[in-house]
């Protein structure tokens, strides 16, 4: 693993009124690593993702990406640098066919830059990408309006939209939530394949069993603070983590 962190989060804070949603969070993320971000509901995981991608402005602290501070950049600039994310609440373009949803990320200046100024046939690329995340090519699902798709496909579409941007760092916000066991089992190999391609991934998850199978490291948050950071099996042995999840006696 490369020793220079791809992402450095330094003393990151965010308060909403009197509530400290994220409080002096620090961590490094190395290239090719899969970091699991866990914690009880309301512990600040999604806010942390929003702060890194600048959908929410930090109150204090720094985010360095490839050594460069990005906490002052607008969200679209951060995406162009190579950080893509999915949303916990899926955000498709409901009126458009699923494959047409893919056109918008494929129209991104980042994709154009990587492709050397040419976009190519976006419809064909869109269908290829959807097939990669499990849209069966012969089943017509890709041609249906996003509004008519079940949750499992919407999650896949959300992932495909992020992959289309060819990111170096992918932030997946509760990708498995709302999915059946079979659907999750179908998603895990897709994540593993992304890892093999060298993508660095942050996964915010509540499905700990599946996450621990693929994560290199886990960061545990509670009340906006990091309470543990380490290998999955070590972290779950820590008293602070047990207390956060199960409550103290």
């Amino acid at each position: 693993m490369n020793q220079t962190p791809l992402l450095q989060v330094i003393d990151l804070c965010k308060s909403f009124g009197g509530i400290q949603a994220v409080h002096f969070v620090n961590f490094d993320l190395y290239e090719g690593e899969l970091l699991g971000l866990i914690g009880p509901n309301g512990s600040g995981k999604t806010t942390l993702a929003n702060l890194i991608t600048r959908f929410v402005k930090p109150s204090k602290g720094k985010v360095l990406y490839k050594g460069r501070p990005i906490q002052h950049l607008p969200p679209f600039e951060i995406v162009r640098l190579g950080i893509a994310r999915t949303f916990q609440m899926v955000r498709p373009f409901y009126q458009l066919a699923a494959y047409k949803n893919m056109i918008i990320p494929l129209y991104s200046p980042r994709v154009k830059k990587i492709a050397g100024g040419e976009y190519g046939d976006r419809n064909a690329v869109a269908l290829d990408l959807l097939e990669e995340v499990g849209f069966e090519r012969d089943a017509n699902v890709a041609y249906k309006p996003a509004g008519a798709l079940p949750q499992g496909y919407l999650k896949r579409l959300e992932l495909a939209k992020a992959i289309a941007l060819q990111p170096d760092l992918l932030i997946l916000d509760e990708l498995f939530s709302g999915l059946s066991l079979a659907e999750v089992a179908g998603m895990v190999p897709i994540i593993e394949k992304l890892r093999l391609q060298g993508k660095t991934i942050i996964m915010i998850e509540h499905r700990l069993k599946e996450l621990f199978r693929i994560a290199d490291r886990v960061l545990v948050m509670n009340y906006g603070e990091t309470i543990a950071n380490g290998a999955p099996k070590d972290v779950m042995e820590m008293d602070a983590v047990k207390n956060a999840y199960l409550g103290s006696e």
Binding site: F76, V79, R91, Q95, L96, I104, Y107, K161
Partner: protein
């Protein structure tokens, strides 16, 4: 020989929405006819009309342009209540170009359109971050403010306005110019919104955070849509200055903001053809009701309410649905 009913588009519709496989002239006509109809009607109608109804057609085309301009903004996620700003800006700029600099209408109109579009875009640039009703309120207030500024400072002729404009060389140039522009924009914008660029604009309307999440600067795209819409609006105003031969405070009237919205809603929001169809119904209707005097607005209002309640999707979307559901008798092979 047994017969059965079959949808007219069966067999030519490919599996994705707007993709068709056409194998005969008849099948091509099925798609081409609704597109050719407005072109033929608009081009053939003027010589058949009396001078009075030619003026109504001209007014119809101008309101259709304003309505298309409103619909472009609406499809890009900006609900404007101030088409009068674009109209008035174009009208005054063309008036100034003619009155103070003596430019001919054929120079003044394009100049006023693009300059008006640029000024309106710059004026609204700081409020592009606002969504929904907040953006709408700003667009509503600006033209009302400009009227008061002109009244108070007495610039550009003050309350009396600018008069003595140069008319068009002939009424046919006047009429066919606005019709050509309307048809070009109707089909041009339709094509644009069906392109990948248009999908981004529609995406901003549907879910702007998701578009930002694709690394796209939504404010840059919104500004482009605003420039296009305001240029169209400014063209309408600039054009009418050389029809009325006057540019004054009434060009910022609320009518130019409200009627285009009513036309788009009646015709079918989200489609430029719907906006044009709405204007083609409301403008002549307004003229027909002129004969009944003071109750005109009441009947007009009732008509609007009935249409909106009975056909909330708009006439165009309803007609299109029915057209695609049209059935014909076909012979069943044994």
């Amino acid at each position: 020989m047994k017969k059965r009913k079959e949808r007219i588009d069966r067999g030519i519709k490919a599996r994705s929405g707007d993709v068709f496989t056409l194998c005969s002239w008849r099948e091509m006509l099925y798609l081409a006819a609704p597109r050719l109809l407005p072109i033929i009607v608009f081009l053939l109608l003027p010589p058949l009309l009396s001078v009075y109804w030619q003026k109504v057609l001209l007014s119809l085309a101008v309101f259709a342009l304003l309505s298309i301009s409103w619909d472009l903004l609406s499809q890009s996620g900006m609900i404007s209540l101030g088409q009068a700003l674009f109209f008035g800006m174009g009208a005054y700029l063309s008036g100034i170009a003619d009155h103070y600099f003596g430019l001919s209408p054929l120079v003044a109109i394009p100049l006023a359109s693009f300059l008006g579009g640029a000024i309106c875009t710059l004026a609204l640039l700081p409020v592009l971050r606002l969504r929904g009703i907040y953006f709408s309120m700003v667009t509503l207030v600006i033209p009302l403010m400009l009227v008061r500024i002109i009244e108070a400072t007495r610039i550009f002729g003050g309350t009396e306005g600018l008069t003595g404009m140069t008319p068009f060389p002939s009424k046919w140039i006047e009429l066919y110019l606005v019709i050509t522009v309307l048809l070009c924009l109707l089909f041009g914008f339709r094509r644009m919104m069906a392109s990948d660029y248009g999908l981004v604009l529609k995406g901003i309307c549907d879910n702007d955070r998701s578009v930002t999440n694709a690394g796209i600067n939504i404010y840059w795209f919104k500004a482009q849509a605003l420039f296009m819409a305001s240029t169209v609006g400014a063209f309408s105003g600039a054009f009418m200055t050389h029809v009325y031969l006057f540019a004054g405070m009434p060009v910022f009237a609320l009518d130019y903001s409200i009627l285009p919205i009513a036309a788009a809603v009646v015709g079918g929001p989200g489609s430029f053809a719907g906006a044009t169809l709405g204007a083609a119904i409301l403008v002549p209707l307004s003229e027909l009701l002129r004969g009944i005097g003071g109750l005109r607005i009441v009947f007009y209002g009732i008509f609007l309410v009935v249409f909106i309640v009975a056909l909330p999707e708009g006439i165009f979307h309803y007609a299109r649905r029915k057209y695609h559901q049209f059935e014909r008798w076909v012979e069943v092979e044994k």
